[in-house]
Every structure is written in C-alpha cells, then in structure tokens.
C-alpha cells in the first residue's frame, strides 16, 4: 500500500469525492462493499463493521453508508443538517501501523493539500451505548472543521476486540462541502456541474428532506413503531434461540446476521420514537439498554460462527 506524495487536483462534485475515496481505498487493498440495505444511524451499524470487528480473522472493507438520524431533520433548510446523509466508512483489522498515513493519503486523494491546510488529530473517545461498543481515537480537523472520526475499537457488543480494528468515518456531505467550497448542502453539485444534466444535492434530496422531516416529527405512527420495536426485539431473540444445528442441512448454521438485522431495526425504530418525542428521559436509557442487550446477544452468536471465531 502506498500513499500519494501530494494532493490530487480539486474534485468538482460530490460523487467525484466518493469515487476517489472508493478507488483510493480499493488501491489500499480494501474490499469495496456496497451500503447495507437497511435503515441505520451510522456506518458503524453495517455488519461489515460491527460484526466483522469481532474475532481474529483479518478484515479490510470500505463502503458508503446512507445513514438516518430522524431528529436531525430540518426540512432541507439548515445548511449542514440532514436527517438522511452519507458516511464513508473504512474498517481494517488488525489496524495497520500506518493507518494515520493511509488516512492522510485519502485526504490528498480528494484534493486536500497538506502544504496549505492544517490537519489535526484532536482527542475524541467514541462510544456507542446501543452497540455496547467503545474505542479511543480522535476527531480529525481540517482548518478547524471536523472532517472525520478515527477510532481504534476496543470493545464491540461487550466483547474485547482482539485484534483491534481501526475505523475511519468520513461525514461525506460536510467534507465535500468544504473541499468544494459550498456553503449550503443543497447547493452542492452532486454530479459534474458541466454534465448535460447537472444535478445539485438539493435537486435530489430537498424534497425528501421535507417529506421525511414531516414524517419523523409528525407523521410516523408511534403506536405502530412501539409495536414494531417489540416485534424486532422478540424476533431477534427467537432467531438466536434456534439450535445451532440446522436439521435440514445437518450443518451448524447460527442465524447471527438475520438476528442482527432485527437489532438494526430496533435501533432505527427507537430513533424514530425519539424524534416523535414520545420517549421520556428515564425511558430513553431503558430503550438504549434493550437495544444494547440485543447487540450483545448478536455479538455472542457471531463469535460462535466461522467468520467471528478466533483462528
């Protein structure tokens, strides 16, 4: 893996930044995965990160993950806040000793010139109460702007990470707005501005931000969400309660991933309920605890599978 010596030319669009990150991390040997096909709050929820950071098998993946934070909806009006946005996620296990350099290389690849900008690693410990996970690392600043989260996972789903995974999370819109010099996210060119049909971020997402903001704050049926939360919780448990041996194939097949899907679902439903304002301060902790309990059980189950075992 080699790191480019100097910054590439400035990109012209949001998608060009994504494409450059994809090819950069592909060149560094990562499997370039596709987004997980479920609603998640952050790239970390993708099983390629949560589950694959467990066990001793080496792993290297990079992917874009559409992420949803219902409470952050601002009807498309706030220049930086969205209820649906993109994260770029890199996860490498064991964390390579030059991960910081590799990361800085990715900034060069998207046109950030280290000779002109001020890059800083500022202490920021990461913790996900819903995933029972924590790690130490930094938020990375470029000229005072937080552009990434850099974490060495210590624990996930209550399990010690051995070896440790290095995780990089880029907030794509914010990073791209900075690189492209755009002040309002909706004004950002999504494809090339000189394309026959140039599209801005707003052309694609302004209307959906409005629709989902209304949905998240006022539309979603809370009684139904509560029911679905209970269902997901029960289903997760039910799937994990199956005996390991599948009577049809005679193989050991633990349904860790399907059970984990239910955890993701429960987590998103909780976020929606939170946005609807029906969860009190005291209940909040209890809900988070229930999602964490599921995440832990899925982690326990995954550790019993081939992909999650110790070699």
């Amino acid at each position: 893996m080699s790191v480019p010596a100097q910054a590439a030319a400035a990109p012209r669009s949001f998608q060009e930044i994504i494409l450059r990150l994809q090819s950069y991390w592909a060149a560094q040997g990562c499997a370039v995965l596709q987004p997980y096909d479920m609603e998640v709050g952050a790239g970390t929820f993708h099983p390629a990160t949560t589950l694959r950071s467990l066990g001793s098998k080496p792993w290297a993946a990079a992917y874009v993950q559409p992420s949803r934070r219902p409470t952050d909806g601002r009807y498309g009006e706030n220049p930086n806040r969205l209820q649906h946005y993109y994260q770029y996620q890199v996860i490498i296990k064991p964390s390579p000793s030059n991960l910081q350099e590799l990361y800085l290389g990715s900034l060069q690849a998207i046109g950030i010139d280290m000779a002109l900008h001020d890059i800083r690693f500022v202490e920021d410990d990461w913790e996900s109460p819903t995933l029972g996970a924590w790690g130490l690392g930094w938020e990375v600043w470029c000229d005072g702007m937080e552009v990434s989260q850099f974490t060495y996972f210590q624990q996930v789903g209550g399990h010690d990470c051995r070896p440790v995974s290095g995780e990089l999370t880029y907030g794509l819109e914010r990073l791209a707005m900075y690189v492209l010099g755009v002040d309002h996210v909706m004004d950002m060119p999504f494809n090339d501005p000189s394309a026959p049909i140039p599209l801005t971020y707003g052309d694609i997402f302004r209307q959906t931000e409005e629709e989902y903001s209304r949905h998240n704050f006022d539309g979603a049926d809370t009684a139904q969400l509560l029911r679905h939360f209970e269902d997901a919780e029960a289903e997760c448990q039910r799937l994990l309660d199956f005996p390991a041996e599948d009577p049809k194939t005679g193989k050991k097949i633990i349904m860790a991933h399907p059970a984990y899907d239910q955890t993701i679902k429960a987590s998103h439903l909780f976020n929606l309920l939170d946005a609807r304002g029906v969860i009190s301060v005291t209940e909040r902790q209890a809900y988070i605890g229930r999602v964490r309990a599921l995440a832990k059980k899925c982690a326990d189950a995954f550790r019993l599978t081939e992909a999650g075992a110790d070699a």
Binding site: P94, A115, H117, R120, Y152
Partner: protein, 769 residues
C-alpha cells in the same frame, strides 16, 4: 557518568493528559533507577502531541554491589522451616552457611548482588514504566497486547558518555529501542539519528518541532499578542486554553481573524465559549468598543500562503457555529421577552431527582423558601420570590442546552432583555455561587436569598430522602452546598436562625417526598392538611421540650408497632385513615431525625471552615455548646473573639484559674450533694485577695453583662481577662476548703460566680490544655 535520553513516540496524545504524563514518566523512571541502585544528578521531562521525553544527566554507570545477610531457622528445626527459608532466599541448602548462635546452630544466607551496568537496569525500568504507565485511559491496537494512550510507534533510548552514544538494548512488544526519531508530521520528512539531548532538541527544531511545551506556550502567547497589537486589539488571556493549544501543536503558528459583523452583538461570553469550546480559538477584544471582535487560531504548520487558506477555513467553521449561536440567542430572546413561561413549563418535564420531583417542583420550593429568607438578609420578599422563580428558567433555553457552562449567565442576559428588575437578573447569574471555597459570594440581598434557598432546598431534599454524603462520596455536592450556606450567611452578616431555616426547608421538601412515596400507596394520603400542620408543630414542640431524639425514636417504634398490630383489625376507610396516620407520624419522626442530623452536619462543616481560618476545633466546640448556636454569625463572632483571647497571655492563665475553680467547685458539689449557687457575701471574706476577687468579679460582671447584651464578645473577653490576676492571687493566698464551714461555703459560692461569669461567654470546659 552518562546522560540518558528517552523518547516515547506515539500517535497524538490528548492534550489534557500531557502534563501529567511528563511527570509520571519522570517519576516512574527515576524512582526505578534509584531503587535499582543508580544515581543521577538532574532530570527533565518534555512532551509534544506525539512524544514523551525524559532526559537524565550525571547517571552512574553501574549500581553499587549489595551484600545482604539473612538469618534462617536452627539446624534442628523442622524440614518445612528450612524449605520456606530456601524458597524465600532462592538459594539451595549447600549455599547456606551454618553459624553458632547462642546455644544452637543456625542457617545463614549470604546474598551478594553484584553491581549491574546501567543499560541493563534502564532497559528493565523503562519496560516496566511503559507497561505500567498510569494513563487515565489507555488502549490496545493492531494485534498486540501492549497498552498505551494511543499506538506507541517508536522508542528512542540512548546513553551518552565521553565515548559517545549507545542505544540501550531493549524492546517492548516488538518495538525495538533505537537512536532515531521523526520531526513534524507535515513539515519534515524521514527519521534522523541523535547523539544526546542537546543534539536531539536542536535537530527537532530544525525538523519543525518545539520540544518544550512552555516554549510553545510562550511562542503562542507572544505571537497572538503581536497579531492583536498590530490591529489595535487585545487578546483575552486564557491560561487553560493556552496549555491545551500548546498540547495540540508541535510547530505553533498563530493566525488572527475577524468575527463577522452579524455576530458582534452576541454576549461576549457566548462568543468566547463557542470559540474556545468548539474551535480552541483565543478571543480578541477591541479596547475601543469593549467587544469581542476577533479570534486567534493556532495552526500546527507554516504554509506557503502564510495561512490564508487555513484562516479562511477556520472563519467559515466559526461562522457556521456562530450562526447556530445567533439562532439560539434570537429564539431565546423571543421566549424571554414573552415572560419565559415556555421554559418554566418545560421544566415541569425535567426530572430533578425521582424522589424529589421535577425542576419545576424544586423551583416552587426554592421560591417559597427565598420569600421567607428574604427579610432575614435584607431583601424584598416579592422580588426574591420572583427571582427564585426565574433563576433557573434558562436551563431550558437553547443557548444553555448548547453550552451548559453558560447557565445562570444567560439567565441574567435574558432577564435584562425581558426588562425584569436588575436584582432578578443578578440572582439568575449568582444564585449558584459560591461554588467552591475560593469562589466569590454574591452580595446583592436578593441573590443571597435565592442562593441560600437553592442550597437549603438541595440539602434538606437529599437529607429527607437519605442521600447523605458518606466518606469520600458526595455525588450531589452537599458538602459544598453546606459550605456555601455558611459563607453566604457569614458574608451577608445575616442573623438568620439556621435551624429554623432548615426546618422550613424540610417542610417544603417533605411534601415532595411523601407525594413521591405516596404514589404507590396513594390511598394512604387522604390525610387532612390542617391536621398535618398542627401535628407537625406539635411534634416539633415535643422535640424541643424533651430535647431528645431518643424519645422520638421510641414514639416512632411504638407507632410502627401499633400500625402492625392493630391495622389488620380495622376495616374500610377507617383502616386507611388509621394506617395513614401511623405511617404519617413515622415519616414525621424521620423528618425530625433528618433535621437534627443535618444541623450537626452544618456544625461539622463550620468546624472545617473555621479550622481553615485557624480556629481550633475545641474553641468551636466551646462556642457550639452555648445558646444561640443556630445563629452562625453569632457563633463565628464568639469563636473568633475566644480564639483571639486564648492567644493573649491572659487567656491560657485565666483558663487555668477557671478550670481550677470549676474542679474544686464540682468536687465539693458532688461531695456535699448541693449546688453552691447562693450569692457569696463579701462580709465573710477573710483576706485581701478574697476581697479583691469579690471586687474584680463585680467589676467584670458590670462590664461583661452589657457587652454580652450587645454581643460584643471582644469586650466581654477583655473584661474576663481582668479576672486573671485576682483569681491567681486568690488561689495562691486562700485555701477554699477552710475549716470554718461558713467561710468554706462562702468561698465555694464565690467560685460559683467565677463559673457563672466565665461560662456566660463560652463553655470553657471544652477548651483543651
């Protein structure tokens, strides 16, 4: 003699941990080396975001040899004893010596530890230091098991003497020590070798690293001031921020920018907090306008465009941040000007403590209390009540939601903007004070009333639910609250009766507690509230009359017994009423126990407070034993005067005379079974000394009584001091227990006058010595 240089090079160390880490590295390594028998002349420790460095000079080349002799068991002792000795010494039987010791033969172990060369010791000590480093938080990385604050990348460890530098052979988890390091992450390329500390520091500087954090701080501060000065502005000093920023950069380059006009009207603290917390910017003030108009950011690089790009980026981030702040400010102003009701309603939904209700419940209690305290501290009751109701409203404001450290301060701004009285605005800002022993105490009477009510509610509340501080645990900062009350009372020279105020606080809070507990047994609380008031008063009277908690404890037990025994036989509503009353009385008893307990907690805190002011605990006890001990101002005045008196020459001597008089009198009273309190008569006096004492007591009493009435303790003590010589002379010349019973009784009665006069000032029997 040699010089040692150690550098532990890692990924970025959190700024807040660096100072402590320098000291820890120094003490771990130097202690380890000294314990192993090496000596050194001097030590220096340094840190940058990426390195921890230790340099030692004048280190000895090897440790002194050590010879140790240990006596073992007798040769005829059981085999197990010998085995144990061999295990503990690590020797075999034939390595032991047998010596004659008194009548028996005894095994001796002679252990000779030869001197060891410094490198071997350093390697051991450094590895131990790395593996046991007390980071506040540490982590693993990659496939290794080593823990460090962030991945440890290289170790430089060299020993330099006249012959040159040598690498100390060592490795930790595969990281092999060498003689090379790297410079600045962006401004320097590759690794380079160093020979000694001076060489290291010089080469680092050439590689764009300023090693010494103090030098970086000085450079940042100087640079920032120069930039501001050139623009006719001043940097606002911030020592904490300076240290933090110096821990974020290896090559500091300060850059100054302007805050956009649209944000200049925001309160200075909002600008400062936003810039400091989010961006680590220094604030720059325009002395002509008195406003914060600019900022200084410190880059960790020196770019070709002199920072134009970096500054532009930072400015953009700041504008986004301040847009948020401006939005919060404007939004909050709308609520404030409409009377803050939206926030007050919002506080109903915020739980203060699940047994003590919501923030709104708490505010209602504080407001009621502030109203009662107000006249005692010279504040208007209506204004104090209004101030208390609004003082915490800002907790629901957007700005405080974003910057919790601005609580109170925003309340002040919003109260002013809403056109409320200035006293209300100040109370919002100051009612949290004093926060620590050195924090200033509010002076405005309304602020004092609200601050007292706030703290007394906290104390009585947590006492009522039995969440008292224990040992080192004080999660609700109750010791601080009690000290705050003491300082507020003393600072305002208020004469409020602390027992009554606490009692009032308990009245407020007990309802909350009962309601909270009653939720699960709600039927029980159909208890008429008038009756509640009269029974509470009756219980308090009973307590004051008996003066004994024990009595109350027995009553409570009796009630529990009655409730348990007879409850089951009563039916229907009568049964509920019956249970309600027994449960209620038991709760009332608990409340009174808590009240008495909290008062003694106050006295303990007062002792700690006065001890810090140099007043001995026995002096405080002597004053606590006097009536009026629930008036803190009186108590402290008395203690201060007594402490001063005991420092004079007359003080301890008078004390001796008093104690002697008291002892003789007490013994006689015990022997005779009577109290000698009838007036002594001068006509039975036989000696001049006796007559002189009569005269002196008359004179002292004439001075002390009016002084005490005016609470002029210093004057009372001065008058008491005049008794010293006559009392001394009396005891030298006169034998109290005379044969003549009339004369003896008269003298004992005279001693009683000494006791009465002196103990009216303080309970001198409590004074030690």
């Amino acid at each position: 003699m040699a010089d040692l240089l150690i550098e532990l090079f890692s990924e970025e160390i959190p700024a807040r941990m660096q100072a402590r880490a320098r000291e820890d590295l120094k003490s771990l390594v130097t202690n380890g080396l000294v314990e192993a028998g090496l000596t050194y002349a001097g030590a220096g420790a340094f840190s940058t975001p990426r390195r921890l460095v230790l340099t030692l000079d004048g280190l000895s080349a090897e440790s002194r040899p050590v010879r140790e002799e240990r006596k073992g068991p007798r040769t005829d002792a059981p085999a197990a004893a010998l085995e144990g000795f061999l295990r503990s010494t690590g020797l075999t039987k034939d390595q032991l010596e047998v010596r004659d010791d008194k009548k028996a033969q005894v095994y001796f172990a002679v252990i000779e530890k030869p001197g060891r060369a410094a490198p071997a010791i350093i390697a051991e000590v450094l590895e131990h230091a790395i593996r046991n480093f007390p980071w506040p938080k540490s982590m693993r990385w990659g496939s290794g098991n080593l823990r460090w604050v962030r991945p440890l990348q290289s170790i430089l460890c060299i020993l330099t003497d006249e012959a040159g530098a040598q690498v100390v052979p060592m490795s930790v988890d595969g990281i092999v020590a060498g003689n090379t390091t790297a410079g600045h992450r962006f401004l320097s390329q590759g690794r380079f070798a160093v020979n000694n500390f001076d060489d290291y520091a010089v080469k680092l500087k050439r590689a764009f690293v300023v090693l010494d954090s103090a030098e970086r701080e000085a450079a940042i501060w100087q640079g920032a001031q120069n930039l501001a000065f050139a623009a006719g502005m001043d940097v606002v000093p911030d020592a904490g921020l300076l240290t933090e920023v110096a821990g974020l950069v290896e090559w500091p380059v300060p850059l100054m920018g302007r805050i956009a006009d649209a944000f200049l009207h925001l309160p200075a603290e909002v600008l400062q907090t936003s810039m400091r917390e989010h961006q680590k910017f220094f604030s720059v003030k325009n002395p002509k306008t008195g406003r914060i108009e600019g900022f200084v950011t410190v880059a960790n690089t020196d770019p070709a465009d002199h920072g134009a790009t970096i500054l532009k980026g930072n400015q953009k981030v700041l504008s986004a941040r301040l847009s948020d702040a401006k939005f919060f400010w404007e939004n909050d102003l709308r609520v404030a000007k409409a009377g803050m009701q939206e926030w007050l309603d919002g506080l109903k939904a915020v739980t203060f403590h699940n047994k003590l209700g919501s923030q709104a419940d708490r505010i209602a209690r504080i407001a009621a209390l502030a109203r009662e305290i107000a006249p005692l501290v010279g504040a208007d009751a209506d204004v104090a009540e209004m101030a208390a109701k609004l003082a915490k409203a800002d907790l629901r404001s957007s700005m405080v939601g974003e910057f919790p450290e601005l609580q109170g301060l925003m309340g002040m701004y919003y109260a002013r903007e809403a056109g409320l009285p200035e006293a209300v605005a100040l109370a919002a800002r100051d009612h949290y004070s004093p926060l620590g022993p050195t924090d200033s105490v509010p002076t405005d009477p309304v602020s004092v009333a609200v601050a007292l009510a706030d703290k007394i509610d906290t104390l009585t509340g947590f006492w009522a639910i039995d969440e008292k501080p224990t040992g080192s645990k004080d999660p609700f900062a109750l010791r601080r609250a009690a000290l705050g009350v003491i300082r507020l009372v003393l600072g305002s020279r208020s004469r409020l009766n602390i027992r009554q105020v606490l009692s009032r606080g308990f009245d407020e809070v007990r309802f909350e507690k009962m309601i909270a507990e009653g939720r699960s047994e709600s039927a029980l609380f159909a208890y008429p509230s008038e009756l509640l008031g009269t029974t509470t008063a009756a219980f308090k009277d009973a307590l004051n009359e008996f003066g004994r908690l024990e009595t109350l404890r027995s009553i409570k037990e009796l009630l529990a017994f009655i409730g348990g025994k007879f409850g089951p036989f009563v039916e229907g509503q009568a049964r509920l009423d019956f249970l309600a009353s027994t449960v209620h009385f038991q709760r009332l008893c608990d409340g009174l126990f808590a009240e008495s307990d909290l008062l003694s907690f106050f006295h303990d805190r007062l002792k700690v407070f006065l001890k810090d002011q140099g007043i001995r605990h026995d002096v405080i006890d002597a004053c606590l034993a006097m009536p009026g001990n629930d008036d803190l101002t009186l108590l402290v005045n008395r203690a201060t005067a007594l402490a001063a008196f005991l420092k004079t020459e007359d003080g301890p001597n008078l004390l001796q005379g008093y104690k002697r008089a008291n002892t003789i009198l007490t013994q006689a009273e015990q022997k005779d079974g009577v109290e000698y309190s009838f007036g002594a008569d001068v006509k039975f006096a036989e000696t001049d000394e006796e007559r002189a004492l009569f005269a002196a007591l008359d004179a002292a009493e004439a001075a002390i009584t009016p002084a005490m009435a005016k609470e002029d303790f210093a004057a009372a003590m001065t008058a008491m001091a005049t008794l010293r010589a006559p009392i001394d002379a009396f005891f030298t010349a006169v034998q109290v227990n005379a044969d003549n019973e009339i004369i003896r009784r008269n003298r004992l009665n005279l001693l009683h006058r000494i006791r009465t006069i002196c103990s009216g000032v303080a309970d001198l029997t409590k004074i030690e010595g």
